[in-house]
């Protein structure tokens, strides 16, 4: 290898390392901010469900590139086609979608701790590791299911005549319901436009 090749390789490694450090720092900062603002965010249902929970997932996603490569390859070996990883994601999402789990996180410090641990580690990290491994059909299946789950939850929150979460007012519940429906419509519109209008040659795998 010539000296210029060494230099290029070194620069590539350095760039990737810097990217990883940047992403981990961002994840740690975000996690810290979420930890410090937990009481404020949890005061409203929108803050809890639509800001804190997704951002905890983002923390896990951001920290994934910094996982030791040995651990990553060990996980990848067992995470064939990304199926085990995505199943862990689906079950954890289902758990935290339950109104009862939200109430429990507010009532019990143990459940609050569980939330802060499981959302990054059982949704963010496995999602980041599994998504690139999923087949196009599996990706379509996951997106389709996510949209239907969000729509059903949004509809339920807007229509329920009683509080589903004991710790939030009914108008906050309806607000979350409306926003969930809007987010679902936004995601659906994005994929529809992308697939049918803007990128006609798009493969599902490229989503």
């Amino acid at each position: 290898m010539r000296p210029t090749s060494y230099t290029v390789s070194f620069l590539v490694v350095l760039k990737n390392t810097l990217k990883r450090i940047q992403s981990t720092t961002l994840a740690c900062l975000l996690f810290l901010v979420l930890l410090l603002t937990s009481k404020q965010l949890e005061m409203t249902m929108v803050g809890h469900v639509l800001i804190q929970l997704p951002l905890l997932v983002v923390c896990g996603w951001l920290v994934t590139p910094s996982l030791p490569s040995r651990l990553e390859s060990a996980i990848e070996k067992d995470n064939e086609y990304g199926i085990p990883g995505i199943l862990i994601v689906i079950f954890t999402v289902l758990f935290w979608m339950l109104p009862r789990s939200l109430d429990a996180a507010l009532a019990s410090p143990f459940m609050e701790f569980t939330k802060f641990v499981t959302l990054p580690t059982l949704i963010g990290i496995p999602l980041a590791l599994s998504w690139p491994l999923l087949t196009p059909v599996a990706k379509g299946f996951v997106i389709g299911n996510l949209l239907s789950m969000l729509a059903v939850l949004g509809w339920l929150y807007t229509q329920a005549p009683i509080r589903l979460c004991n710790y939030y007012l009914i108008n906050q519940q309806q607000q979350v319901g409306n926003l969930l429906l809007a987010i679902t419509a936004g995601i659906a519109l994005y994929f529809t436009l992308k697939c049918f209008f803007f990128d006609k040659n798009l493969e599902v795998g490229a989503l």
């Binding site: 079950f91 009683i162 710790y167």
Partner: protein
């Protein structure tokens, strides 16, 4: 083979966690969960001193050997509490047709003792026809004891933007041993309540 085993393990573990979290896929909300919990294991009421709308002090133990239907209210409430008050008035009137040994008592406890003084409760009791014996309006003047009672029963009170509160609207059925044995919807029929009372 390895992948199949892993997928199967995750499916079993994930389903088990969801099964446990939802009491066998029956309780998706904490309100439903607390109702199932008391039905499975009746919950003894804590010892608290209540003051009724006539200013008399009493405790849950004073209802010795009698079933009591308890609801939680605040007199400024413009929505659920008047509806529950009307429901209790119906139940109170329907007791005339029940044999004395099958009768129960009604107890409406205010969770807003600062505003709901004896005088305010007395006027509220007059509005709904609470007679002070088979139906009492009451308050717990000791805030710490009130908080403990609400926490024990899983009643969550949250302030709303109009200066009032939102809270669980339900009828708590206390058995002859002073334990909450059922939690029912406020609009449950008199016949269903009678059935529940007879079982206790």
């Amino acid at each position: 083979m390895r992948l199949t085993v892993l997928i199967f393990t995750i499916l079993v573990a994930g389903s088990s966690v969801l099964w446990l979290e939802t009491n066998g896929f029956q309780a998706f909300t904490s309100e439903r969960a607390r109702r199932l919990a008391v039905t499975a294991t009746p919950k003894p009421l804590p010892i608290v001193t209540l003051q009724d709308h006539n200013g008399r002090e009493f405790g849950f133990a004073d209802y010795n050997d009698r079933v009591v239907l308890v609801d939680f209210i605040y007199t400024r409430c413009p929505t659920m509490c008047p509806i529950m008050g009307a429901r209790f008035r119906q139940l109170h009137r329907s007791m005339e047709n029940i044999s004395p040994d099958k009768r129960y008592s009604l107890l409406s406890i205010s969770f807003d003792p600062e505003h709901d003084t004896v005088a305010v409760l007395s006027s509220y009791a007059d509005t709904f026809g609470a007679d002070g014996s088979s139906w009492r309006m009451a308050r717990v003047s000791d805030q710490a004891k009130l908080d403990f009672l609400l926490k024990e029963l899983g009643v969550v009170i949250i302030p709303d933007e109009f200066g009032g509160y939102q809270h669980n609207a339900a009828i708590h059925v206390v058995d002859r041993g002073g334990r909450v044995a059922h939690i029912l919807d406020y609009d449950v029929s008199s016949e269903q309540i009678q059935q529940v009372v007879q079982q206790l």
